[in-house]
Amino acid sequence: MEIQLTGDQVLALAPDASSAAAGKKHGNARLWKNLGMSAEALWGECQGSALYQVKVELASLTTQCSCPSRKLPCKHSLGLLMLAATERSAIPTAEPPEWVTDWLAKRQASSARRQERAEKKAVGAAPPSADQRKTAEKRLATVKKGLDGLDLWLNDLVRQGLAGVQTQPASFWERQAARLRDAQAPALDTRVRRLAAIPNASTNWPEKLLAELGKLALLTHAFRLEDRLTPEMREEVRLLIGWNLTQGEVSAHGETLRDTWLIAGQVIEEAERGKTQRTWLFGSKSARPAMVLQFSFAGQPFGEHFALGSQQEAELTFWPGSFPLRAQVRARLGEITPLKDRLPGHENIDTFLDTVAQALGRQPWLDHFLALLREVTPACSDEGQTWTVRDKDGHALPLDGSDHWLLLALSGGHPVDLAAEWNGETLRPLGVMAEGEYTLLGRTN
């Protein structure tokens, strides 16, 4: 396997800006010895405070280093990838040494074992035992009680008037969120917690808040009418309330799709007690978007690594539902190659918005969408305070925030292909294809 990452793509793997800077510094052949690359792996030894052995599994970009750093990937691993990306000739093709083959063998064995075990557990346990049935019934009762409480709380809010929430402290929302967590409806907990950020944050906040409250009411309503829903919709509603599936359950029940996936970019958000990461992919043959959602609690590294801005043949398994979007990687099958020339996607903004409307028709609670827009021109006004992208027809959508200088620099006022995350109001740029090269956006590295 050949490695075809660019320096930027390697830096996008860095867990923080200081690791990225240190990674750049370590991408210097003079600091390395016993370098080598084979079909599966990349390795080398780096002289730091001690001599560190660094190895990378190319298909999954899983790295391991003998240094004591908790960061993943660490600066040495980033340095090695950086070197491979920028100075490929410094790394000879070779047979991996024993310390690399041992690690690869161990990894493959354990990951195969894990998947097998998980699927067996999900499928094999055919009829649930009496105990399990009892637990499930008990949970259902708890959730129902929690939803009754939520409905009362919602009714009370509109009865008293939304104007009153302006003076409420954050704990007002947190209390209700906590009640939902206790009622074993964690997804609703997150939804309610998010409401706290709406009041007074924009001029049309009452409209936004009412919309979110209304959508919550629709969700509890849908749950109460569960029997009348399609099986897919029932799955979807249960997920939205908080019946999480394990990875094993997903891989046993979800639809698996093999395709060449474009890895368009990533959004990382602060969440309660950690970070949420959404990686956006797009199937080049199926033309389907997919989102890999990962959580990191208390600074732990994310488990799955993606070479943002490249494509790779892989099998993804989707969470079941009426509009399957969330997915997990089942197997990575091909080499990682950079995105080149053009992005697939919508020729104009109107057709993109139509797709969004259709998706909402199938899953009305969708919050985020992947937008791939071809030939749009970024523009700013008010000395860089207001930003939009404009299509060939003269239609435009606003960009969020005020720092899109890199996007503007790369376009030079010419049309570019943009990948972004759409939240119903603004686009958050993920990457841009300009002059045949893809550059990641919205990252601080």
């Binding site: 320096g7 008293q160 629709l218 903004i349 404009r390 503007l408 300009a434």
Partner: protein, 519 residues
């Protein structure tokens, strides 16, 4: 705000009748709402309406687009070069940034677009001058959108001596820095026209602007400029007078220079094998007019100040013919005069500003012998003549001189050869670098620097290690790696030496990458 939102804000409790209709197809669903509380119905209705609106979201009318960036004239830099530059721009090894940018310019390269925001955010004035020529069309185009990037407009596009087509508009309306640049370029091709432009605008300009614009006459200066400059000597502003006087001294036969010569002659005469110095007791009006300041800026006497100013205006060759002696001899004749220090300072200023090459080395020798004395007496307006003189000496002589000083280094902390070492032109010659490293190894043997009693923090050789990364020539890079075999010791002292050495190698690595990538 529509009725649903208003109702929600006020609260349903305060309304007699709640209207659930939204005027959208959502209203068709109202009939199927479950019986029960009005609040519940209201919320479901609001939810459905929200999703309806979200699905029906329409694009806004796009803004008017500004003209895109024009085609580039410079070559793009390689991805490797871009990576090196992104590190430099991010603040790593900042001392190497100007050199790397100058190298880009020499090779006709420009920064790749993704580096531009980072580059345009640089605030150092000195670095901006190096950045401007490598921003390319894209960089100039981009800078118009961000108010804090307007500095780019102060730098005219490349091609040194050509005038942009909108030169006259810039001259009429532009900021002072750009106007001066236009004038400077016009002087190079048509000095008469440039002076005419300046004369025409002269009366309306502020004093500060007058002096900045006047300075541009130095390009293509000729006797034709003298009448205008003589007029400028009557200016209200001392800054303008001073600039006019300076320019007039650069005209070999100007009336002002004649006047200065007379003043100088009256102050220094050769009598009985000695030079006798006698500055005037009071300042004449005509001295003032010729740009001689009355009150000293520093703590020196007014008479010293007048003497110093007159001397610094006069080309040193004048003294050789007038007093009939070579510089070294003149210094001897001056010895022990009460005004010796002031005259030497005036001559040093003049020699430096006129680049009088036959005076530089004699002056350096004199200052080497008298510098301590000057520092103790606090008689000077400037204490960096040695550094300035070294900068005008040919590199081999500077290296030889420094080597003599380094060889004489006896470990005393007050030895200031380390400060002067910074003036050796970079990169050092291989011979000088080898000799320096040899001395370094002699002074800092492994045995000595690993001893418990050794204090690396106070050792100039150790403290100077990081700057070796900037000064060593490529040919000596390998020697740094094999300087010492330091023991694997965690003592602070050893760690410090190791860190100093690492800093040096980090700089060297960066220099190697700059040389390999920016091509």
């Amino acid at each position: 705000m529509d009725s649903l939102v208003t109702t929600a804000l006020v609260g349903l409790a305060r309304q007699e009748k709640v209207d659930l209709s939204t005027g959208t197809p959502v209203d068709a669903l109202l009939a199927s709402l479950p019986d029960g509380e009005i609040e519940r119905k209201f919320l479901l209705c609001a939810g459905a309406r929200a999703i309806y609106c979200q699905a029906g979201k329409q694009a806004q009318q796009g803004p008017h687009l500004s003209e895109p960036a024009g085609p580039e004239r410079l070559r793009p830099c390689s991805p490797g070069a871009a990576l090196v530059l992104s590190r430099l721009l991010a603040g790593e090894q900042t001392l190497l940034l100007p050199g790397a940018l100058a190298r880009m310019r020499q090779r006709g390269l420009r920064l790749s677009p993704h580096l531009l925001p980072q580059a345009l955010n640089i605030t150092s004035k000195e670095t901006r001058a190096f950045l401007a020529p490598v921003l390319g069309e894209r960089g100039r185009w981009l800078s118009q959108f961000n108010p804090s990037w307007r500095w780019v407009q102060d730098f005219l596009p490349e091609s040194e001596f050509s005038l942009p087509p909108d030169a006259e508009t810039i001259w009429q309306e532009g900021p002072t820095a750009r106007r001066a640049e236009i004038l400077r370029r016009l002087r190079a091709v048509d000095p008469e026209k440039a002076r005419a432009w300046l004369q025409e605008a002269w009366k309306q300009e502020k004093a500060e602007t007058r002096s900045t614009l006047l300075e541009t006459l130095e390009v293509g200066l000729s006797p034709n400029d003298e009448p205008f400059l003589e007029e400028a000597l009557d200016d209200r502003s001392s800054g303008v007078r001073n600039m006019a006087a300076y320019l007039l001294t650069r005209l070999p036969n100007s009336a002002l220079l004649q006047r200065m010569h007379q003043r100088a002659q009256s102050m220094i005469v050769r009598q009985e094998g000695k030079l006798v110095v006698e500055p005037p007791q009071k300042l004449e009006k005509d001295w003032l007019r010729d740009g001689i300041g009355e009150k000293p800026a520093q703590k020196i006497s007014a008479r010293s100040w007048w003497l110093l100013q007159v001397l610094s205006f006069i080309e040193p060759a004048f003294w050789e013919s007038h007093l009939g002696a070579q510089p070294a001899e003149l210094f001897k004749l001056l010895a022990d005069d009460p005004w010796e220090m002031q005259v030497m300072e005036g001559w040093s200023k003049a020699a430096l500003s006129y680049h009088a090459s036959n005076w530089i080395i004699p002056l350096w020798n004199w200052w080497r012998a008298h510098y301590q004395q000057a520092v103790e007496k606090r008689l000077l307006t400037d204490y960096t003549y040695r550094e300035q003189l070294l900068r005008q000496m040919p590199a081999p002589i500077v290296e030889q001189t420094m080597l003599t000083m380094l060889n004489a280094y006896n470990g005393k902390p007050d030895n200031d050869c380390w400060e002067l070492l910074a003036e050796v032109p970079r990169p050092w010659s291989t011979e000088f670098a080898r000799a320096y490293l040899q001395l370094l190894r002699q002074h800092c043997t492994v045995k000595k620097i690993t001893a418990e009693s050794f204090n690396p923090y106070a050792d100039p050789w150790i403290n100077d290690l990081p700057s070796l990364g900037l000064t060593l020539p490529t040919s000596c890079f390998d020697e740094i790696a094999h300087l010492w075999e330091l023991p694997d010791d965690q003592r602070w002292g050893i760690q410090y030496i190791r860190n100093q050495l690492n800093e040096c190698t980090a700089t060297i690595h960066m220099r190697q990458q700059i040389e390999e990538e920016i091509i």
